[in-house]
Amino acid sequence: MIKKISELLIIAVFSLCLTSCWDYEDVDKKCITISIGVDQVGENVQFSGEIANLTPSPEAKEKAQTGNVYRLLSYGKTFEEARIHYDAINPFPVFLGVTRVVVFGQNFAKKGIEPYLNRIGHIYDYRKTLLTVVSRESPTELFDTKVEKHISVGFLIEDIINSLSNTGKALYPTCGELLSDIALEEVGYLLPYIGKEKGSIAYLGLAVMKDSKLIGVIDIVDTDGILYLLGENPMLVEAIHNPENKGNVYSFRTNVKKRKIKTNYTNGKIAINIDLDLQAILRYQYYSTPISDEEIKRLEKIISEEVKSSIVSAIKKAQNEFQCDYFGFAKYFRADYPKVYRKIKWEEIFKDVDVKVQVKTKIVNENLVDPDAKNKY
């Protein structure tokens, strides 16, 4: 009998032992950090952010609108000093496994965020898929914003960027991707730029990072060209004015069907050829007018021209204003000409690279509207 159940007994004993192994810690004995803000204030690095409040105070229970988070604030000359201060004021050890977003203040971003990204990359707790953003206001001010529809500012920021990126209107760079770009050395990268607009938190555009330092900002209205090249599934809206009837506007939703980036190296000259196949859907017209097949072809051409011009202008900006390859063209050139790439300094050459863009658009449907309807009676 004992022999028969001995194996079951061993399993049971081991299971019991495992429930209290060294790494066990009760969830309410941890400071579960939702968001982290990193900024430079004077000579000090300042950590701010939000911690999930698992045991709400009696007052919090009474106020239905109060979020279940409390703020954190600590500072020090280095990350380690700031952490010592942080540990000194908090009752429980910090847990970063569910952190949703890291917000870099402008001052810190200008100084360089690479050390903190490396910290995220190597500290076990942190998820490497963590969202990183740059904030116009200081993170402390951002986290003090009263949010009505979310339990915390961190969740709100992540949800805004996530929903925009799912619909192809923003980039969602994770910490891991940034570390890969940093390792390549020759390229820059873009981070979502956020701030406070009329009391609420808003996505404002893209922060340009060169050598992991903030060197400029691209306004949200100028980001289309970038999204066509870098977005996962860019889905943008193009409003085309009818040249014959200025008051009428065709609103199209475009998405990228095919994106091909090839590089060329002849006689010491580097060229980048970008081919983009777009699909467009007519959402509506401001004033309904019939559209013939010729008109559709003309509209396809206009959309192509407009998209091409937004891409060209985005690349020119990168080459002339920022002198930084945040599109990652270096990877394409290295893949096509690995031998040449080893000999050149891409960072210096990038500004003189010749870029050719070709966009083809096909209007695939008109949203169940017959655009060429005629009265036959």
């Binding site: 192994c21 998820r127 994770t174 940093i182 390792a183 390549l184």
Partner: protein, 363 residues
């Protein structure tokens, strides 16, 4: 002793012994030595390993119902056999002990941050000991079941990684001018295939027909393709420039990925760790079995279970000897050079003696 195995069990033993700790740092090693064209080096290494696998399978196939101890005695005499056995026993034992330690170190550094190394080692060794006393057929069955689970989990994980990776990260696929570099790095790529020599301690019976050659070769090729899948999926996510910084490149890659469509398993590291622990458990058990079975040939009067206990007990002591992770890594590095001797040189000697002495025709 009824230790005969079916052809399928034998190939899964190969899978069990090869896919283990080495897979963790494989993408880093490949990227470091041959960049994005590392797949080519793995392919060449696979071809070389297929030749070794053929030789070792041939030895067991020709000398039916015998393991290396017995046929080596016939081919080379007693003294040389004792030397060979000494080499093999030391090799299996040290690798077993060090694998236990380095796997525990990795587990401590990744998930069980506060658990002492000795506790993780001890836990592993308990389970390994339990499997060992059930002998080869049970170990082979475990390898079969775990092997299938590992393959399914790995295919799922790596296809998911490919969906998150970027094609541009794995280009250029091949640079003709770098061919000498790729061939040079092939030597490094042979190390992940160490373990194939385990076939020398598996007795073949009449049940193991000629198809076993095809099976072992196909399994080695499959493992080569498996390795390429692992390497390419990891590089496609992290990129060749960054992956070289991670000793645990595979785990680091998996932690970089988050697939919302998978809902509650959106983070793949949980599934990966389960499959990986299964894989290292198979590897450790087979390696320990190698040492014990050869010792049991030398000490015929000692009970197999007692020998198993002694080996596992000393493995625990030896596994605690290195003080740092770096030291364990260094020992395993030396052992991989030692491995070339037991995987390539000794079987080659025995193979040529068999051929020259026409033992294959006598049997």
């Amino acid at each position: 002793m009824n230790d005969s195995l079916t052809n399928r069990q034998i190939v899964f033993i190969i899978f069990g012994v090869l896919i283990g700790y080495g897979i963790m740092g494989l993408p880093k090693n490949v990227a470091e030595t041959a960049g994005t064209a590392g797949w080519f080096s793995v392919l060449v290494a696979t071809a070389i390993t297929v030749i070794f696998a053929y030789m070792i399978t041939y030895l067991s196939y020709v000398h039916k119902n015998k393991i290396i101890y017995e046929y080596s005695e016939i081919l080379t005499g007693k003294i040389v056999t004792y030397v060979f056995m000494g080499i093999y026993i030391c090799y299996y034992f040290i690798v077993f002990a060090m694998l236990t330690r380095i796997s525990s170190e990795t587990i401590k550094l990744t998930i069980l941050l506060k658990t002492p190394i000795w506790a993780v080692c001890l836990f592993f060794l308990f389970v390994v000991y339990y499997a060992l006393i059930k002998r080869l057929r049970v170990i082979a069955r475990i390898c079969e079941i775990y092997g299938i689970i590992i393959i399914i989990a790995a295919v799922m994980i790596h296809i998911s990684l490919f969906t998150q990776g970027k094609l541009i990260n794995i280009r250029p696929f091949f640079v003709v001018e770098d061919l000498p570099l790729y061939l040079k790095s092939t030597l490094n790529m042979i190390f992940p295939f160490l373990g194939i020599e385990i076939l020398t301690i598996i007795p073949f019976t009449k049940k193991n027909n000629k198809r076993i050659f095809k099976y072992t070769a196909l399994m080695v090729m499959f493992i080569g393709v498996f390795y390429i899948m692992v390497v390419e999926s990891c590089i496609s996510v992290i990129g060749v420039d960054e992956i070289v910084h991670y000793d645990d490149a595979l785990y680091a890659t998996i932690r970089r990925v988050d697939i919302p469509a998978f809902q509650f398993i959106r983070r793949l590291d949980g599934i990966f760790l389960i499959a990986w622990i299964m894989a290292i458990f198979c590897t450790m058990t087979i390696w320990a079995y190698g040492a014990i079975v050869l010792l049991s040939k030398l000490f015929k009067k000692v009970n197999f279970n007692v020998l198993s206990f002694i080996v596992v007990f000393f493995a625990f002591i030896v596994s605690q000897m290195p003080t740092t992770y770096g030291q364990v890594k260094k020992v395993l590095e030396y052992m991989s050079y030692y491995g070339l001797l037991v995987m390539g040189i000794i079987p080659s000697i025995l193979f040529f003696i068999t051929k020259v002495g026409k033992y294959d025709q006598k049997n």
